[in-house]
Symmetry: C2
Subunit: 277 residues, 2 copies
Protein backbone atom coordinates (compact mmCIF):
# COMPACT_ATOMS: atom_id res chain seq x y z
CA UNK A 1 0.00 0.00 0.00
CA UNK A 2 1.07 3.54 -0.68
CA UNK A 3 0.74 4.43 2.98
CA UNK A 4 3.13 1.69 4.13
CA UNK A 5 5.71 2.74 1.61
CA UNK A 6 5.13 6.31 2.62
CA UNK A 7 5.46 6.04 6.33
CA UNK A 8 8.71 4.11 5.96
CA UNK A 9 10.27 6.08 3.13
CA UNK A 10 8.32 9.36 2.87
CA UNK A 11 7.46 8.97 -0.78
CA UNK A 12 7.09 12.40 -2.34
CA UNK A 13 3.94 13.55 -4.07
CA UNK A 14 4.24 16.36 -6.57
CA UNK A 15 1.06 18.37 -7.10
CA UNK A 16 0.69 20.37 -10.31
CA UNK A 17 -1.83 23.18 -9.84
CA UNK A 18 -2.31 24.40 -6.29
CA UNK A 19 -5.82 25.85 -6.36
CA UNK A 20 -8.70 25.23 -3.96
CA UNK A 21 -8.74 21.51 -4.62
CA UNK A 22 -4.94 21.15 -4.56
CA UNK A 23 -4.95 22.69 -1.08
CA UNK A 24 -7.75 20.47 0.16
CA UNK A 25 -5.86 17.44 -1.13
CA UNK A 26 -2.61 18.57 0.48
CA UNK A 27 -4.25 18.80 3.92
CA UNK A 28 -5.40 15.19 3.72
CA UNK A 29 -2.23 13.78 2.13
CA UNK A 30 0.27 15.61 4.39
CA UNK A 31 0.22 12.94 7.17
CA UNK A 32 1.29 10.29 4.65
CA UNK A 33 3.59 11.93 2.11
CA UNK A 34 6.21 14.61 1.59
CA UNK A 35 4.42 17.17 -0.58
CA UNK A 36 5.69 19.42 -3.33
CA UNK A 37 3.57 21.70 -5.44
CA UNK A 38 4.03 23.59 -8.67
CA UNK A 39 1.76 26.49 -9.51
CA UNK A 40 2.74 29.77 -11.19
CA UNK A 41 0.84 31.62 -8.44
CA UNK A 42 3.13 30.02 -5.82
CA UNK A 43 6.34 31.10 -7.53
CA UNK A 44 4.90 34.60 -7.78
CA UNK A 45 4.86 34.55 -3.97
CA UNK A 46 1.19 35.43 -3.68
CA UNK A 47 -0.09 32.27 -2.01
CA UNK A 48 0.76 32.82 1.67
CA UNK A 49 2.07 30.05 3.91
CA UNK A 50 1.58 26.66 2.25
CA UNK A 51 3.66 24.55 4.67
CA UNK A 52 4.20 21.63 4.89
CA UNK A 53 3.95 21.76 1.09
CA UNK A 54 7.16 22.87 -0.64
CA UNK A 55 6.82 25.11 -3.67
CA UNK A 56 8.88 23.69 -6.58
CA UNK A 57 9.43 23.99 -10.30
CA UNK A 58 7.47 21.79 -12.67
CA UNK A 59 10.69 19.81 -13.30
CA UNK A 60 11.20 19.16 -9.56
CA UNK A 61 7.58 18.10 -9.16
CA UNK A 62 8.00 15.69 -12.09
CA UNK A 63 10.80 13.93 -10.16
CA UNK A 64 8.44 12.81 -7.36
CA UNK A 65 7.43 9.15 -7.10
CA UNK A 66 3.79 10.20 -7.49
CA UNK A 67 2.56 13.17 -9.54
CA UNK A 68 -1.01 14.47 -9.21
CA UNK A 69 -2.33 16.83 -11.86
CA UNK A 70 -4.81 19.21 -10.22
CA UNK A 71 -5.04 21.90 -12.91
CA UNK A 72 -8.23 22.87 -14.74
CA UNK A 73 -9.27 20.11 -17.17
CA UNK A 74 -8.64 22.48 -20.05
CA UNK A 75 -4.95 22.84 -19.09
CA UNK A 76 -4.23 19.13 -18.83
CA UNK A 77 -2.80 18.72 -22.31
CA UNK A 78 -0.21 21.45 -21.92
CA UNK A 79 0.71 20.27 -18.41
CA UNK A 80 1.03 16.64 -19.50
CA UNK A 81 3.26 17.61 -22.43
CA UNK A 82 5.45 19.73 -20.15
CA UNK A 83 5.73 16.99 -17.52
CA UNK A 84 6.33 14.07 -19.90
CA UNK A 85 10.08 14.49 -20.63
CA UNK A 86 10.92 14.81 -16.91
CA UNK A 87 9.02 11.81 -15.47
CA UNK A 88 11.14 8.91 -14.21
CA UNK A 89 10.29 5.24 -14.92
CA UNK A 90 7.60 3.76 -12.63
CA UNK A 91 6.27 7.18 -11.63
CA UNK A 92 2.55 7.04 -10.79
CA UNK A 93 0.62 9.88 -12.46
CA UNK A 94 -2.93 10.74 -11.36
CA UNK A 95 -5.41 13.49 -12.12
CA UNK A 96 -8.40 14.71 -10.09
CA UNK A 97 -10.64 16.44 -12.65
CA UNK A 98 -14.45 16.33 -12.88
CA UNK A 99 -14.41 14.67 -16.29
CA UNK A 100 -12.44 11.59 -17.24
CA UNK A 101 -12.81 10.70 -20.95
CA UNK A 102 -10.81 13.56 -22.46
CA UNK A 103 -8.05 13.71 -19.78
CA UNK A 104 -7.67 9.91 -20.00
CA UNK A 105 -7.15 10.12 -23.75
CA UNK A 106 -4.62 12.96 -23.33
CA UNK A 107 -2.66 11.21 -20.57
CA UNK A 108 -2.56 7.92 -22.47
CA UNK A 109 -1.35 9.66 -25.59
CA UNK A 110 1.29 12.00 -24.18
CA UNK A 111 2.69 10.34 -21.06
CA UNK A 112 5.67 8.00 -21.60
CA UNK A 113 5.03 4.25 -21.60
CA UNK A 114 7.24 3.83 -18.53
CA UNK A 115 4.82 5.61 -16.15
CA UNK A 116 1.66 4.22 -14.53
CA UNK A 117 -1.56 6.24 -14.90
CA UNK A 118 -4.67 6.31 -12.69
CA UNK A 119 -7.37 8.91 -13.38
CA UNK A 120 -9.56 9.90 -10.43
CA UNK A 121 -12.53 12.14 -9.69
CA UNK A 122 -13.13 13.01 -6.06
CA UNK A 123 -16.91 13.61 -5.97
CA UNK A 124 -16.53 16.44 -3.50
CA UNK A 125 -14.99 19.85 -3.22
CA UNK A 126 -13.87 22.32 -0.56
CA UNK A 127 -17.51 23.05 0.41
CA UNK A 128 -18.79 19.49 0.77
CA UNK A 129 -15.53 18.41 2.46
CA UNK A 130 -15.72 21.14 5.12
CA UNK A 131 -16.49 18.61 7.85
CA UNK A 132 -14.00 16.01 6.67
CA UNK A 133 -13.81 13.59 3.76
CA UNK A 134 -14.53 10.22 5.43
CA UNK A 135 -17.36 8.46 3.61
CA UNK A 136 -17.23 10.78 0.60
CA UNK A 137 -16.98 9.25 -2.87
CA UNK A 138 -14.09 9.09 -5.31
CA UNK A 139 -14.18 7.58 -8.79
CA UNK A 140 -10.99 5.72 -9.77
CA UNK A 141 -10.25 4.85 -13.43
CA UNK A 142 -7.01 2.84 -13.80
CA UNK A 143 -5.54 3.68 -17.22
CA UNK A 144 -2.09 2.11 -17.45
CA UNK A 145 -0.07 -0.26 -15.22
CA UNK A 146 -1.26 -2.27 -12.24
CA UNK A 147 -1.43 0.29 -9.48
CA UNK A 148 -5.21 0.94 -9.49
CA UNK A 149 -5.93 -1.44 -6.58
CA UNK A 150 -3.07 0.06 -4.54
CA UNK A 151 -4.44 3.57 -5.08
CA UNK A 152 -7.97 2.39 -4.19
CA UNK A 153 -6.74 0.68 -1.01
CA UNK A 154 -4.93 3.83 0.15
CA UNK A 155 -7.94 6.08 -0.52
CA UNK A 156 -10.24 3.69 1.30
CA UNK A 157 -8.12 2.61 4.25
CA UNK A 158 -6.11 5.75 4.94
CA UNK A 159 -8.53 8.50 3.87
CA UNK A 160 -11.81 6.67 4.53
CA UNK A 161 -13.18 7.44 1.05
CA UNK A 162 -15.84 5.40 -0.71
CA UNK A 163 -13.85 4.18 -3.74
CA UNK A 164 -15.77 3.52 -6.99
CA UNK A 165 -13.79 1.90 -9.80
CA UNK A 166 -15.09 2.67 -13.27
CA UNK A 167 -14.24 3.09 -16.93
CA UNK A 168 -13.84 6.75 -17.92
CA UNK A 169 -16.84 6.54 -20.29
CA UNK A 170 -19.16 5.11 -17.64
CA UNK A 171 -18.06 7.77 -15.20
CA UNK A 172 -18.62 10.65 -17.60
CA UNK A 173 -22.01 9.44 -18.83
CA UNK A 174 -23.33 9.26 -15.28
CA UNK A 175 -21.82 12.47 -13.87
CA UNK A 176 -23.20 14.29 -16.92
CA UNK A 177 -26.55 13.97 -15.11
CA UNK A 178 -25.30 14.26 -11.54
CA UNK A 179 -23.10 17.30 -11.91
CA UNK A 180 -24.65 18.70 -15.08
CA UNK A 181 -28.10 19.05 -13.52
CA UNK A 182 -26.75 20.27 -10.19
CA UNK A 183 -24.74 23.03 -11.83
CA UNK A 184 -27.44 24.09 -14.30
CA UNK A 185 -29.94 24.39 -11.44
CA UNK A 186 -27.35 26.11 -9.26
CA UNK A 187 -26.78 28.67 -12.02
CA UNK A 188 -30.53 29.25 -12.48
CA UNK A 189 -31.18 29.76 -8.77
CA UNK A 190 -28.21 32.13 -8.71
CA UNK A 191 -30.47 34.45 -10.70
CA UNK A 192 -32.76 34.95 -7.68
CA UNK A 193 -32.35 36.84 -4.41
CA UNK A 194 -33.48 34.02 -2.16
CA UNK A 195 -32.43 34.78 1.35
CA UNK A 196 -33.38 35.45 3.99
CA UNK A 197 -36.88 34.00 3.62
CA UNK A 198 -39.36 33.39 6.45
CA UNK A 199 -41.76 30.97 4.81
CA UNK A 200 -39.39 28.22 3.79
CA UNK A 201 -40.28 24.58 3.27
CA UNK A 202 -37.91 21.69 3.99
CA UNK A 203 -37.78 21.07 0.27
CA UNK A 204 -36.70 24.65 -0.43
CA UNK A 205 -34.06 24.53 2.31
CA UNK A 206 -32.59 21.36 0.77
CA UNK A 207 -32.58 23.05 -2.64
CA UNK A 208 -30.65 26.04 -1.26
CA UNK A 209 -28.24 23.74 0.55
CA UNK A 210 -27.68 21.77 -2.67
CA UNK A 211 -26.92 24.87 -4.73
CA UNK A 212 -24.81 26.48 -1.99
CA UNK A 213 -22.42 23.53 -2.28
CA UNK A 214 -21.68 24.28 -5.94
CA UNK A 215 -22.14 28.04 -5.93
CA UNK A 216 -18.49 28.72 -5.14
CA UNK A 217 -16.96 26.18 -7.51
CA UNK A 218 -14.14 27.65 -9.58
CA UNK A 219 -15.19 28.64 -13.13
CA UNK A 220 -12.75 26.07 -14.54
CA UNK A 221 -14.56 23.32 -12.60
CA UNK A 222 -17.92 24.48 -13.95
CA UNK A 223 -16.47 24.61 -17.47
CA UNK A 224 -15.32 21.01 -17.17
CA UNK A 225 -18.69 19.86 -15.86
CA UNK A 226 -20.90 21.75 -18.31
CA UNK A 227 -18.61 21.66 -21.32
CA UNK A 228 -15.78 19.11 -21.26
CA UNK A 229 -17.93 16.08 -20.47
CA UNK A 230 -18.80 14.44 -23.82
CA UNK A 231 -22.23 13.39 -22.50
CA UNK A 232 -23.31 16.66 -20.89
CA UNK A 233 -24.55 18.43 -24.00
CA UNK A 234 -27.37 15.89 -24.27
CA UNK A 235 -28.28 16.35 -20.61
CA UNK A 236 -28.32 20.14 -21.01
CA UNK A 237 -30.49 19.85 -24.11
CA UNK A 238 -32.92 17.52 -22.37
CA UNK A 239 -33.17 19.91 -19.42
CA UNK A 240 -33.80 23.00 -21.53
CA UNK A 241 -36.31 21.15 -23.73
CA UNK A 242 -38.17 20.10 -20.55
CA UNK A 243 -38.07 23.74 -19.40
CA UNK A 244 -39.62 24.96 -22.67
CA UNK A 245 -42.35 22.32 -22.48
CA UNK A 246 -43.12 23.15 -18.84
CA UNK A 247 -43.20 26.88 -19.55
CA UNK A 248 -45.71 26.31 -22.36
CA UNK A 249 -47.80 23.97 -20.22
CA UNK A 250 -47.95 26.34 -17.25
CA UNK A 251 -48.70 29.37 -19.40
CA UNK A 252 -51.53 27.49 -21.07
CA UNK A 253 -52.88 25.98 -17.84
CA UNK A 254 -52.79 29.14 -15.75
CA UNK A 255 -53.50 31.76 -18.41
CA UNK A 256 -56.78 32.50 -16.61
CA UNK A 257 -54.78 34.51 -14.09
CA UNK A 258 -54.23 34.11 -10.40
CA UNK A 259 -57.27 32.07 -9.50
CA UNK A 260 -59.09 30.41 -12.32
CA UNK A 261 -61.73 28.69 -10.23
CA UNK A 262 -64.20 27.24 -12.67
CA UNK A 263 -61.75 25.34 -14.81
CA UNK A 264 -59.77 23.93 -11.90
CA UNK A 265 -62.90 23.01 -9.96
CA UNK A 266 -64.22 21.20 -12.99
CA UNK A 267 -61.00 19.25 -13.40
CA UNK A 268 -60.49 18.06 -9.86
CA UNK A 269 -62.49 15.80 -7.65
CA UNK A 270 -63.85 18.45 -5.30
CA UNK A 271 -66.64 18.26 -2.78
CA UNK A 272 -69.90 19.37 -4.38
CA UNK A 273 -71.77 22.22 -2.76
CA UNK A 274 -74.54 19.88 -1.62
CA UNK A 275 -73.86 17.27 1.04
CA UNK A 276 -73.81 13.76 -0.41
CA UNK A 277 -75.93 12.40 2.40
CA UNK B 1 -56.26 28.39 24.59
CA UNK B 2 -58.00 25.97 22.25
CA UNK B 3 -56.36 23.01 23.94
CA UNK B 4 -57.67 23.90 27.40
CA UNK B 5 -61.16 24.27 26.06
CA UNK B 6 -60.73 21.05 24.20
CA UNK B 7 -59.49 18.83 26.93
CA UNK B 8 -62.29 19.98 29.20
CA UNK B 9 -65.15 20.09 26.72
CA UNK B 10 -64.01 18.13 23.66
CA UNK B 11 -64.60 20.94 21.20
CA UNK B 12 -65.43 19.49 17.80
CA UNK B 13 -63.47 20.27 14.68
CA UNK B 14 -65.15 19.75 11.34
CA UNK B 15 -62.79 19.10 8.43
CA UNK B 16 -64.07 19.78 4.90
CA UNK B 17 -62.04 17.76 2.37
CA UNK B 18 -60.38 14.64 3.71
CA UNK B 19 -57.46 14.15 1.32
CA UNK B 20 -53.81 13.50 2.15
CA UNK B 21 -53.48 16.72 4.15
CA UNK B 22 -56.83 16.33 5.92
CA UNK B 23 -55.67 12.93 7.18
CA UNK B 24 -52.29 14.24 8.31
CA UNK B 25 -54.05 17.04 10.18
CA UNK B 26 -56.53 14.61 11.79
CA UNK B 27 -53.71 12.47 13.20
CA UNK B 28 -52.20 15.47 14.98
CA UNK B 29 -55.48 17.04 16.12
CA UNK B 30 -57.11 13.82 17.38
CA UNK B 31 -55.55 14.01 20.88
CA UNK B 32 -57.12 17.45 21.41
CA UNK B 33 -60.46 17.51 19.60
CA UNK B 34 -63.45 15.44 18.56
CA UNK B 35 -63.08 15.22 14.78
CA UNK B 36 -65.68 15.14 12.02
CA UNK B 37 -64.95 15.14 8.32
CA UNK B 38 -66.96 15.76 5.18
CA UNK B 39 -65.65 14.52 1.84
CA UNK B 40 -67.71 13.01 -1.00
CA UNK B 41 -65.17 10.16 -1.14
CA UNK B 42 -65.95 9.29 2.49
CA UNK B 43 -69.70 9.03 1.96
CA UNK B 44 -68.99 6.89 -1.10
CA UNK B 45 -67.43 4.44 1.37
CA UNK B 46 -64.11 4.22 -0.43
CA UNK B 47 -61.87 5.70 2.24
CA UNK B 48 -61.25 2.75 4.57
CA UNK B 49 -61.09 3.13 8.34
CA UNK B 50 -60.85 6.80 9.30
CA UNK B 51 -61.45 6.45 13.06
CA UNK B 52 -61.40 8.37 15.33
CA UNK B 53 -62.70 10.80 12.70
CA UNK B 54 -66.46 10.59 12.10
CA UNK B 55 -67.70 10.94 8.54
CA UNK B 56 -70.52 13.55 8.40
CA UNK B 57 -72.55 15.65 6.01
CA UNK B 58 -71.38 19.14 5.14
CA UNK B 59 -74.22 20.51 7.29
CA UNK B 60 -73.09 18.49 10.33
CA UNK B 61 -69.49 19.60 9.84
CA UNK B 62 -70.69 23.22 9.70
CA UNK B 63 -72.16 22.83 13.20
CA UNK B 64 -68.73 22.23 14.80
CA UNK B 65 -67.13 24.94 16.92
CA UNK B 66 -64.17 25.00 14.57
CA UNK B 67 -64.33 24.33 10.84
CA UNK B 68 -61.18 23.70 8.79
CA UNK B 69 -61.41 23.87 5.01
CA UNK B 70 -58.88 21.43 3.53
CA UNK B 71 -60.16 21.23 -0.05
CA UNK B 72 -58.14 22.20 -3.12
CA UNK B 73 -57.75 25.99 -3.33
CA UNK B 74 -59.82 26.00 -6.50
CA UNK B 75 -62.84 24.53 -4.65
CA UNK B 76 -62.80 27.02 -1.76
CA UNK B 77 -65.41 29.36 -3.19
CA UNK B 78 -68.05 26.65 -3.69
CA UNK B 79 -67.29 25.11 -0.28
CA UNK B 80 -67.46 28.47 1.50
CA UNK B 81 -70.78 29.29 -0.13
CA UNK B 82 -72.18 25.88 0.83
CA UNK B 83 -70.96 26.18 4.43
CA UNK B 84 -72.01 29.80 5.03
CA UNK B 85 -75.76 29.36 5.76
CA UNK B 86 -75.07 26.58 8.31
CA UNK B 87 -72.34 28.18 10.42
CA UNK B 88 -73.29 29.17 13.98
CA UNK B 89 -72.23 32.48 15.53
CA UNK B 90 -68.68 32.51 16.96
CA UNK B 91 -67.60 29.54 14.84
CA UNK B 92 -63.90 29.68 14.01
CA UNK B 93 -63.24 28.98 10.30
CA UNK B 94 -59.73 28.18 9.06
CA UNK B 95 -58.22 27.03 5.79
CA UNK B 96 -54.90 25.29 5.14
CA UNK B 97 -54.15 25.99 1.47
CA UNK B 98 -50.78 26.83 -0.12
CA UNK B 99 -51.91 30.29 -1.21
CA UNK B 100 -53.60 32.90 0.94
CA UNK B 101 -54.60 36.02 -1.03
CA UNK B 102 -57.46 34.57 -3.08
CA UNK B 103 -58.91 32.28 -0.35
CA UNK B 104 -58.75 35.18 2.14
CA UNK B 105 -60.74 37.36 -0.23
CA UNK B 106 -63.31 34.60 -0.80
CA UNK B 107 -63.72 33.78 2.91
CA UNK B 108 -64.03 37.45 3.85
CA UNK B 109 -66.65 38.00 1.18
CA UNK B 110 -68.84 34.91 1.61
CA UNK B 111 -68.61 33.89 5.26
CA UNK B 112 -71.14 35.52 7.63
CA UNK B 113 -69.97 38.41 9.81
CA UNK B 114 -70.69 36.37 12.95
CA UNK B 115 -67.82 33.87 12.36
CA UNK B 116 -64.12 34.36 13.05
CA UNK B 117 -61.67 33.63 10.22
CA UNK B 118 -58.01 32.63 10.40
CA UNK B 119 -56.25 31.57 7.19
CA UNK B 120 -53.23 29.27 7.59
CA UNK B 121 -50.61 27.60 5.43
CA UNK B 122 -48.76 24.68 6.98
CA UNK B 123 -45.40 24.77 5.18
CA UNK B 124 -45.18 20.99 5.08
CA UNK B 125 -47.01 18.02 3.67
CA UNK B 126 -47.35 14.29 4.21
CA UNK B 127 -43.80 13.68 2.93
CA UNK B 128 -41.94 16.30 4.97
CA UNK B 129 -44.04 15.49 8.07
CA UNK B 130 -43.20 11.79 7.94
CA UNK B 131 -41.05 12.02 11.04
CA UNK B 132 -43.37 14.34 12.95
CA UNK B 133 -44.32 17.99 12.71
CA UNK B 134 -42.50 19.51 15.70
CA UNK B 135 -40.39 22.46 14.55
CA UNK B 136 -42.06 22.66 11.12
CA UNK B 137 -43.44 26.02 9.98
CA UNK B 138 -46.99 27.26 9.63
CA UNK B 139 -48.05 30.67 8.34
CA UNK B 140 -51.04 32.18 10.17
CA UNK B 141 -53.03 35.08 8.66
CA UNK B 142 -55.81 36.30 11.01
CA UNK B 143 -58.61 37.67 8.83
CA UNK B 144 -61.57 38.43 11.07
CA UNK B 145 -62.13 38.42 14.85
CA UNK B 146 -59.57 38.17 17.63
CA UNK B 147 -58.73 34.50 17.68
CA UNK B 148 -55.43 34.61 15.76
CA UNK B 149 -53.26 34.62 18.90
CA UNK B 150 -55.24 31.73 20.38
CA UNK B 151 -54.76 29.67 17.20
CA UNK B 152 -51.05 30.54 17.17
CA UNK B 153 -50.63 29.54 20.80
CA UNK B 154 -52.29 26.16 20.24
CA UNK B 155 -50.20 25.41 17.14
CA UNK B 156 -47.02 26.36 18.96
CA UNK B 157 -47.59 24.91 22.42
CA UNK B 158 -49.65 21.82 21.61
CA UNK B 159 -48.30 20.85 18.18
CA UNK B 160 -44.79 22.31 18.50
CA UNK B 161 -45.04 24.21 15.21
CA UNK B 162 -43.01 27.29 14.33
CA UNK B 163 -45.82 29.85 13.95
CA UNK B 164 -45.27 32.74 11.52
CA UNK B 165 -47.93 35.47 11.54
CA UNK B 166 -48.25 37.36 8.28
CA UNK B 167 -50.53 39.29 5.96
CA UNK B 168 -51.85 37.13 3.09
CA UNK B 169 -50.05 39.31 0.50
CA UNK B 170 -46.67 39.02 2.24
CA UNK B 171 -47.12 35.28 2.53
CA UNK B 172 -48.02 34.78 -1.13
CA UNK B 173 -45.26 37.01 -2.48
CA UNK B 174 -42.63 35.05 -0.58
CA UNK B 175 -43.92 31.52 -1.16
CA UNK B 176 -44.17 32.34 -4.85
CA UNK B 177 -40.37 31.95 -4.79
CA UNK B 178 -40.10 29.23 -2.16
CA UNK B 179 -42.73 26.84 -3.50
CA UNK B 180 -42.80 28.09 -7.09
CA UNK B 181 -39.10 27.37 -7.65
CA UNK B 182 -39.19 24.08 -5.73
CA UNK B 183 -42.08 22.76 -7.81
CA UNK B 184 -40.77 24.00 -11.16
CA UNK B 185 -37.43 22.31 -10.48
CA UNK B 186 -39.19 19.20 -9.15
CA UNK B 187 -41.18 18.99 -12.38
CA UNK B 188 -38.06 19.46 -14.53
CA UNK B 189 -36.10 16.76 -12.69
CA UNK B 190 -39.12 14.48 -13.01
CA UNK B 191 -38.22 14.39 -16.71
CA UNK B 192 -35.04 12.42 -15.96
CA UNK B 193 -34.39 8.83 -14.88
CA UNK B 194 -32.05 9.65 -12.03
CA UNK B 195 -31.73 6.65 -9.82
CA UNK B 196 -29.92 4.57 -8.92
CA UNK B 197 -26.70 6.48 -9.60
CA UNK B 198 -23.25 5.45 -8.34
CA UNK B 199 -21.32 8.68 -8.77
CA UNK B 200 -23.44 11.04 -6.74
CA UNK B 201 -22.26 14.23 -5.08
CA UNK B 202 -23.66 15.55 -1.80
CA UNK B 203 -25.19 18.41 -3.76
CA UNK B 204 -27.00 16.01 -6.11
CA UNK B 205 -28.28 13.92 -3.20
CA UNK B 206 -29.74 17.06 -1.59
CA UNK B 207 -31.36 18.00 -4.90
CA UNK B 208 -33.02 14.59 -5.18
CA UNK B 209 -34.14 14.76 -1.55
CA UNK B 210 -35.63 18.23 -2.17
CA UNK B 211 -37.59 17.14 -5.22
CA UNK B 212 -38.67 13.83 -3.66
CA UNK B 213 -40.50 15.85 -1.01
CA UNK B 214 -42.72 17.55 -3.59
CA UNK B 215 -42.86 14.80 -6.22
CA UNK B 216 -45.97 13.21 -4.68
CA UNK B 217 -47.90 16.41 -3.98
CA UNK B 218 -51.50 16.23 -5.18
CA UNK B 219 -52.11 17.95 -8.55
CA UNK B 220 -54.47 20.41 -6.84
CA UNK B 221 -51.65 21.49 -4.51
CA UNK B 222 -49.32 21.99 -7.46
CA UNK B 223 -52.05 23.96 -9.27
CA UNK B 224 -52.42 26.28 -6.30
CA UNK B 225 -48.67 26.81 -6.00
CA UNK B 226 -47.94 27.32 -9.71
CA UNK B 227 -51.18 29.01 -10.69
CA UNK B 228 -53.33 30.41 -7.89
CA UNK B 229 -50.59 32.51 -6.28
CA UNK B 230 -50.87 36.03 -7.74
CA UNK B 231 -47.09 36.50 -7.52
CA UNK B 232 -45.98 33.18 -9.01
CA UNK B 233 -46.34 34.07 -12.67
CA UNK B 234 -43.51 36.58 -12.32
CA UNK B 235 -41.33 33.99 -10.59
CA UNK B 236 -42.05 31.44 -13.32
CA UNK B 237 -41.25 34.00 -16.02
CA UNK B 238 -37.99 34.98 -14.32
CA UNK B 239 -36.98 31.32 -14.04
CA UNK B 240 -37.71 30.49 -17.67
CA UNK B 241 -36.00 33.68 -18.88
CA UNK B 242 -32.93 32.68 -16.86
CA UNK B 243 -33.11 29.20 -18.44
CA UNK B 244 -33.18 30.65 -21.96
CA UNK B 245 -30.23 32.90 -21.19
CA UNK B 246 -28.23 30.05 -19.65
CA UNK B 247 -29.00 27.75 -22.57
CA UNK B 248 -27.76 30.38 -25.02
CA UNK B 249 -24.66 31.05 -22.93
CA UNK B 250 -23.72 27.38 -22.58
CA UNK B 251 -24.38 26.62 -26.24
CA UNK B 252 -22.16 29.54 -27.24
CA UNK B 253 -19.44 28.76 -24.69
CA UNK B 254 -19.18 25.04 -25.33
CA UNK B 255 -20.00 24.91 -29.01
CA UNK B 256 -16.42 23.70 -29.66
CA UNK B 257 -17.56 20.26 -28.53
CA UNK B 258 -16.55 18.10 -25.65
CA UNK B 259 -13.14 19.51 -24.95
CA UNK B 260 -12.34 22.84 -26.43
CA UNK B 261 -8.84 23.16 -25.04
CA UNK B 262 -7.33 26.16 -26.67
CA UNK B 263 -10.06 28.62 -25.87
CA UNK B 264 -10.47 27.52 -22.27
CA UNK B 265 -6.72 27.43 -21.67
CA UNK B 266 -6.43 30.94 -23.02
CA UNK B 267 -9.19 32.20 -20.73
CA UNK B 268 -8.06 30.73 -17.44
CA UNK B 269 -4.97 31.29 -15.38
CA UNK B 270 -3.30 27.97 -16.10
CA UNK B 271 0.26 26.88 -15.43
CA UNK B 272 2.46 27.57 -18.45
CA UNK B 273 4.29 24.68 -20.04
CA UNK B 274 7.66 26.02 -18.91
CA UNK B 275 8.55 26.08 -15.20
CA UNK B 276 8.45 29.60 -13.79
CA UNK B 277 11.69 29.09 -11.90
Amino acid sequence: MLSTITIKNRVSIGIVGFGAFGRLMARHLAPFFALRAYDPRLSAGGAGDISPVVSCTLREVAQCGIVIIATPAAAIESVVKALAPHLRPATLVLDVGSVKVAPAEIMRRHLPEHVDIVATHPLFGPESAKNGIRGLKIAVCPLRGRRGPEVGAFLKKCLGLDVLFAAAEDHDSEVAFVQGLTHVIGRLLGDFELSPMRFTTRSFELLLEATDLVRHDAPEVVDAILGANPYVQEVRQQFFRAASRLEAELTQRHRGGAFSRDRAAAEHDTPPSEPAR
